[in-house]
């Protein structure tokens, strides 16, 4: 009995020590993540602007949320956000899977080269990336216009970033190029980790290359796919700097996203309460989508 009592005390001491070690990180987490989250939810229930600080008088319950659903700009930005997600997530996932499945078997030198090429936009600052793309999309002297004219697809310049039909696709293009780097690195690692004997067993069992890929390798890399899909979805929802730098939501709201509209409300119009309610909605949408992705895809995840 005394032995078990002793080990109990020892265990408690260990637990206390462990928490002490975690304390600094937990403090930061509480101060800069948990507290703002709670404050965000709370202030979304107030008519909190620069003039009206949070008080009894400014409490308006769910009015901010009701207003949101009548706000055409919000609806438009939500739609734009969903378009970005629906187009970007599958294309990024499929493209990176395709590239990785081609390069992971190459000699280490070539594999590293391609990983580098695709990863470069990830480590390059967004500002630099956007500036370069802006030149390329430029309506007067952009190389894209020049090339399209040279090939004969168009006969007069298009203002890609100033045209409601094209602006969002410009955003998607840049997003695509900056988002594929990480998944490619992850997929190359995952494909390299697939147990070679499983592949050989399938070959002996009579599977051709496609069957080996889709029936053996694909289920094996499912955890990676799940991670990539969830992370890309969240990144796309939270995309801000690209839009701020390239179009500022225009032309006529065609590239406005929830994140950018939130920023405008909070820091241009100083409607903090309203912006916070948007943040809450965005968080709920992301959480629900991620949960669905986990539910659907983890059925096939095997360890």
């Amino acid at each position: 009995m005394s032995g078990s009592g002793q080990s109990h005390a020892l265990k408690r001491r260990e637990t206390v020590t462990a928490y002490l070690f975690m304390l600094p990180a937990l403090c930061f987490f509480a101060a800069f993540v948990v507290l703002p989250m709670i404050m965000g939810i709370v202030t979304s229930l107030f008519n909190y602007t620069m003039k009206n600080p949070v008080s009894k008088e400014t409490f308006i319950g769910l009015q901010n949320y009701v207003d949101l659903f009548h706000d055409a700009t919000f609806k438009r930005s939500m739609l734009n956000t969903l378009i970005l997600v629906v187009v970007t997530v599958p294309s990024v996932t499929m493209f990176s899977l395709w590239v990785s499945s081609v390069i992971y078997k190459m000699r280490p030198g070539w594999c590293s080269f391609f990983r580098c090429v695709f990863y470069l936009p990830v480590v390059t600052g967004t500002v630099a990336v956007v500036v370069v793309w802006r030149w390329m999309f430029d309506g007067y002297s952009g190389i894209l216009n020049y090339l399209l004219k040279a090939v004969g697809i168009i006969d007069k310049n298009i203002r890609f970033l100033g045209d409601t039909r094209f602006a969002i696709w410009c955003i998607i293009t840049i997003m695509f190029t900056t988002y594929v780097g990480q998944p490619i690195v992850l997929y190359v690692a995952a494909l390299g980790n697939v147990d070679q004997s499983l592949v050989e067993a399938a070959q002996v069992d009579g599977a051709n290359k496609m069957q080996v890929f889709w029936r053996i390798k694909w289920p094996q890399i499912m955890p990676t796919t799940l991670y990539i899909v969830v992370i890309t979805t969240i990144n796309t929802f939270q995309c801000f700097s690209l839009i701020q730098l390239l179009t500022s939501g225009g032309p006529s709201g065609s590239t406005n996203t929830v994140m950018y509209y939130l920023y405008q409300n909070a820091f241009s119009l100083y409607k903090y309460g309203y912006a916070n309610s948007m943040g809450v909605i965005l968080a709920i949408v992301i959480a629900v989508l991620s949960a669905i992705q986990f539910k659907v895809m983890s059925k096939d995840v095997s360890y």
Binding site: S197, A201, Q203, V204, D205
Partner: protein, 384 residues
């Protein structure tokens, strides 16, 4: 009918490492052939070339009369059991076993019948709905064998299938494989580094070292008639005793083996064989199996260093003037004192002495140059 013919098979890896030199092997239909040798001897590589998982650098491989050098693994109609089992972790046991048949587009009821039939034989019916991770090592092993069995392949390849199991389970599975063999009735190629597995399972054993085939023969042949020092030392437990610096003496037309202070007049068949080869007196390494030593009398003497009582027999490790000698003596009728520290006289029957040429390491009686040249160049380095 599914014989496998291997002619001059060679494997050179990128970077110039030669894993397999010139292997020649004719495997008859329904024969169980075991490739055995220490790790790195090329046995697995040979098997993988037959499976099509490794490219063949040189030579020819015929399965069922068809040249298969450039045939994809999926078109060779072979089944393979891997050392790691290689069960598909995301599929149930049932799907693992049905996978090959599904790829062949066999009708569902037929797949179901076949899978259940094989599961019944292997006693894994109750695990069909489980994933491999929920099975023990022995059960996984059965599933791996079952997955190969459902296919009725032309050739059944097994790459060290028992080496991941513990000793008890290994013995059990070995017995099961012997039983299964009579049911499956196909050609087997089995790779192992365990000589007990090789001896108990194989119709014929192929003993390899450093990418060369050293001997091909039935278990009895490789045990009683080892062609060189390597085979003699590899097959048999405990390992054969070797007496270095002995002499073969031809005296007045009669051959004697001089082992330390003892002179053995060789048996008639040995006399005949040596005479036929025109063998002269020479330096030899004499080999005597521990089981072939008798204690109590004889011209050789040794001091017992370790005495291991096994029950029906006792294993003695003794020092005979600097030579380490292992003896396996039946305990029935054992009258000699074999306790530790005791000195015993020991002897053997001349016909059981293996005579190896000191220079080449080849057996003076059993090494047959013609057949050795046919299966592979001689492995010159006999140190193991």
């Amino acid at each position: 009918m599914s014989e496998v013919i291997i002619k001059g098979l060679k494997k050179v890896y990128e970077g110039g490492v030669t894993a397999v030199h010139d292997v020649n092997l004719d495997i008859a239909d329904k024969e169980f052939i075991v490739l055995v040798g220490p790790s790195g001897c090329g046995k697995s590589t040979t098997l993988r070339m037959v499976a099509g998982l490794e490219d063949i650098t040189d030579g020819e491989l015929y399965i069922d009369g068809k040249l298969c050098n450039n045939v994809e693994p999926k078109d060779r109609d072979i089944a393979m059991v891997f050392q790691s089992y290689a069960l598909y972790p995301h599929m149930t046991v049932y799907d693992n076993m049905a996978f090959a048949l599904k790829l062949k587009k066999v009708p569902k009821p037929e797949i179901d019948k076949k899978v259940r039939e094989v599961a019944e034989i292997l006693d894994i019916t109750q695990y069909l709905d489980r994933k491999p991770k929920a099975l023990s090592g022995g059960q996984r092993q059965r599933v791996a064998i079952g997955r190969a069995m459902v296919r009725d392949p032309k050739v059944f390849l097994m790459d060290e299938p028992l080496s991941n199991l513990d000793a008890k389970l290994r013995n059990q599975m070995r017995a099961e494989i012997i039983k299964l063999r009579s049911r499956i009735n196909t050609t087997f190629m089995y790779v192992t580094h365990d000589q007990t597995e090789a001896m108990t399972l194989g119709d014929r054993i192929v003993i390899m070292k450093d990418g060369f085939v050293n001997q091909i023969g039935t278990p009895g042949e490789v045990f009683d008639k080892p062609v060189n020092l390597f085979v003699a030392g590899f097959i048999g437990m405990p390992v054969m005793n070797f007496f270095d610096n002995c002499k073969l003496i031809l005296d007045d037309g009669v051959y004697y083996a001089q082992i330390r202070g003892a002179r053995f007049k060789l048996d008639e068949f040995q006399q005949k064989a040596l005479k036929q080869n025109g063998q002269q007196s020479c330096d030899i390494v004499a080999g005597i199996r521990p089981q072939h030593i008798s204690v109590g009398q004889g011209d050789l003497e040794a001091k017992i260093v370790v005495n291991e009582m096994m029950g029906s027999e006792v294993h003695l490790h003794a020092d005979s003037n600097g030579d380490e000698v292992v003896m396996v003596i039946p305990t029935v009728d054992l009258k000699t004192d074999v306790s530790m520290g005791a000195t015993v006289k020991f002897s053997t029957q001349p016909k059981l002495i293996q005579l190896f040429d000191k220079a080449s390491g080849n057996n003076l009686i059993w090494y047959d140059k013609a057949s050795a040249d046919a299966c592979a160049p001689v492995c010159k380095n006999y140190i193991f």
